[in-house]
């Protein structure tokens, strides 16, 4: 066999074609050397050839190294110039099956050199040319011409390609959810709630760009945007965003804008019986305006976490109700990957994991409203770069209160904690952030029968079953497991924790 491979002193380069169109990076890694302990395995699993030009297949089958049982494997080895090209056509009857080829890839990656029975078969040189190229001028990995503006998940991208990258990710999402609006489709109305954060502004920009591109080329617009801003400054004691809204309207004039206040949730009959609101009513303060009422409710919840949680729930329900009332076809939430991952873990921490499919997945919510997260494939830091790279930059439009580390643990919220946590994870391990979201996305919403009661606060069906964590004579008496509790309508587990 060694004679067949020959030329042992020369430096052979092996390229594996099982990853078609391998990126420069991928190739670079394949050129790495094999660790000796991988060699028997590599020869067995990767190079157990049954077809090599000029290679006697029958003889190979006799070779114990080449493994008889692998007849289904087909390889193609060719010599071009001074390089061997190994092409793996078939692995165990599954053409390019994912797992085996990934395995192969890992073998190849960890290899330092192939030395077996004192024979040198292949020796990988360092890919000098490629390395050198990368160091000298870091050109964009996509267009190979422009200079790199930033690194997106290890890929060097120029400004143009990055802008396209972001827009494609968004539009792809719309397409998979059948919202892009083809020529034949009826014009849809998409509700875009904005918070003046990086994400929602970036989303608005991408969508506006697409609409104006279509308008310029005289194509069918496909959808209308309805921009919704939930005003909560009064309740939260924050500065008002209304001025920013005017600026936004000037920049993107062709859409419908609506402002509603958080306390309007009472108008949409998003009411709930907490002891607090009951108090307010029995006080004879029915005459109180809804703003005071809401303030009262918010100030009566036990902790900062609960307050943030409740505002979040109310805003979401308000947006859903608004969409329903205005017959919007879908709601496009501006949650980035990072935000969705935060949400996943913080809802888990708040005991509301049962609602995760409704809170983070694209598609119908529990009440039939269609929710989509077009930015789910984009990290917060990527969106941060995006808004600074548009021309003119979107940064002046963004009014985001910088995240403040709470001074006392009393002000710390679970959501804030998760924001902090993912800030660091996103920085070092962006794929893990995406992985969390993907994992949550694979959870299936619980099936709800018609009789299922909706939670009085979050509005999601209560799928509670008695569980062992409720100790009979201690702890959490207010958790109502049965639907017919004393409240008249009860809370789900997570909301019971909040009120």
């Amino acid at each position: 066999m060694s004679a067949r491979w020959g030329k042992t002193d020369e430096h052979w380069a092996m390229r594996t074609d099982f990853l078609v169109g391998g990126s420069p990076k991928m190739e670079k890694e394949l050129f790495m050397k094999f660790k000796p302990q991988w060699v028997p395995k590599l020869l067995r699993d990767v190079l157990s050839l049954s077809y090599v030009p000029g290679f006697d297949v029958a003889a190979a089958a006799q070779n114990p190294l080449l493994g008889k049982g692998n007849g289904a494997k087909r390889f193609d080895l060719s010599l071009t110039g001074d390089r061997y090209y190994l092409k793996i056509l078939q692995i165990k009857s599954q053409p390019y099956a994912l797992a085996p080829s990934r395995k192969l890839y890992h073998y190849l990656k960890s290899a330092t050199s192939i030395i077996y029975n004192n024979e040198k078969f292949l020796k990988m040189p360092k890919p000098v040319a490629q390395n050198g190229q990368k160091k000298d001028s870091v050109s964009c990995a996509r267009c190979h011409t422009a200079e790199t503006a930033l690194v997106v998940r290890t890929e060097h991208l120029c400004r143009e390609c990055f802008m396209r990258y972001v827009a494609t990710k968004v539009l792809k999402r719309l397409e998979t959810n059948k919202l892009r609006g083809g020529f034949k489709d009826p014009q849809r109305t998409l509700l875009v709630p904005i918070s003046f954060g990086v994400s929602s502004i970036a989303l608005l920009h991408v969508l506006d760009q697409q609409l104006s591109n279509r308008a310029e080329t005289g194509r069918h617009a496909g959808y209308n945007l309805h921009i919704l801003f939930v005003e909560q400054s009064v309740v939260l004691g924050q500065p008002s965003f209304l001025e920013s809204l005017d600026v936004l309207k000037q920049r993107y004039p062709s859409h419908t804008y609506t402002v509603i206040s958080l306390e309007d949730c009472f108008d949409y009959s998003i009411g709930f019986d907490t002891s607090a609101s009951a108090d307010a009513l029995t006080d004879g303060s029915i005459a109180l305006d809804k703003r005071t009422c809401l303030k009262h409710i918010l100030s009566s919840v036990p902790s900062a976490t609960s307050r943030v949680d409740m505002i979040e729930i109310l805003r979401r329900r308000l947006i859903l109700a608004f969409a329903k009332a205005h017959a919007c076809d879908s709601i496009l939430f501006g949650d980035s990957t990072t935000r969705l991952a935060e949400k996943t873990l913080s809802e888990t921490a708040k005991g509301r994991a049962i609602a995760l499919p409704w809170l983070t997945a694209d598609g119908s919510s529990s009440d039939g409203t269609n929710c989509t997260y077009p930015l789910r494939d984009l990290l917060r830091k990527e969106l941060g770069s995006y808004v600074s790279m548009t021309s003119p930059p979107l940064t002046p439009l963004i009014c985001e209160a910088p995240f403040q580390r709470p001074t006392s643990s009393k002000d710390t919220t679970i959501d804030g904690l998760m924001t902090q946590y993912f800030e660091s994870v996103e920085h070092n391990y962006p794929s893990i952030v995406a992985n969390v979201v993907r994992t949550a996305g694979r959870l299936v919403a619980p099936s709800t029968s018609k009789g299922t009661n909706a939670c009085a606060l979050c509005g999601y069906p209560i799928v509670n079953e008695a569980w062992g964590g409720d100790q009979l004579d201690s702890g959490v008496p207010q958790v109502a497991d049965s639907s017919g509790s004393e409240y008249g309508n009860s809370f789900c587990y997570g909301c019971a924790r909040t009120v």
Partner: protein, 420 residues
Amino acid sequence: MPPTPCALCNANRALIIRPKNHQKLCKACFITLFETEIHNTITTNSLFSSGERVAIGASGGKDSTVLASVLKTLNERYHYGLNLLLLSIDEGIKGYRDDSLETVKRNAVQYDMPLEIVGYDELYGWTMDQVVSQIGKKGNCTYCGVFRRQALDRGAARLGINHVITGHNADDIAETVMMNLLRGDLPRLARATSIVTASAASDIKRSKPLKYAYEKEIVLYAHHKGLDYFTTECIYSPEAFRGRARTLIKSLERVRPSAILDVVRSGEDMARLVPEEVGGGRKGGKDVLVIEGEAEGGGGCGNANGRASGGEMAAMEEQLLQNEGAQDKETEVTVKAQKHDRNCEGSNRMARKLPKQQMGKCARCGYLSSQNICKACMLLEGLNRNRPKTQIQVSVEEEDNSPTLTRRMEGLTVIPGQQT
């Protein structure tokens, strides 16, 4: 200021603020309450049957010591009619396990329970110290986890027992939930929270009576009962994901004391949301869906205190990146091949694996396994291959009387070429 009276009995002075809900209690009430809660967990889940022989997986640490103590108390108080034994695993880690085993031996006397110690050394011919000297400190938890799972089963089988209880507490479960979310390990998410794990992968039933007990309360209980336990962490332990998850859980607990229980609850809920084709394997076998080269996630050694290097996370990050890359690159090809739909690479992988799940016996050691050769034997093969020949022979001679796995391994050495 007058002393605060206990919130339950209103008679004694409150000395303890309950970590779980900040209730102010006196010592006696806390101890009763803690025991009653475990009793509730046991009865609502009907963990035991009368006359059952149950082995307590005892490490000498706080959790298992408290578990042994509480169960002994409850067994007497509520007449469970259990026959309790202690079962310890000796991983062979000097400076850690030898000391904690001394504690277990004292406990056996204190609680008047028979004690059985199963050593990695006698089962596998390798102590963890030797494993670590062979493969280094990185990744040895995989070996330890796989070996421990089998060792517990084997120990129980030796005692003729088919129920082992372990000291996993609520914090451990919550960490595992978070960890599995971060790792994207859906199958584990589906089964890690269940209080009883009876699986086809094992004849032995496992349960966790302390599942809803806070770690802090366990420590308080141990302290106030004056229990004799051992507090040193495993010297090889850093497991980055668990360390990270642990820090996260601890900060959550600070913000909202109920958070640990809430996470456990969420974990149970999510287990129900995991789609059938993934989670279906949860009863089908523990071994089946374990991703290659991964440590047992059940919290076997949950001692890493966030001091981990992060290498594990970095490794996962890299792997994920490669998967993404590979996926991008492969799409084109598979379209041509028109073989399988790939909406989601993960579920695809699972779906392909599933039909093969049939539990059989390991060809080498006879242990239940979904594969021809069980995980432990695979790991052993790797270890033995690189071990100097002489050393193996020495170990075989030493244990000449017991037909150990090592010996059987020796007899079954496989010519490299014959393997698939």
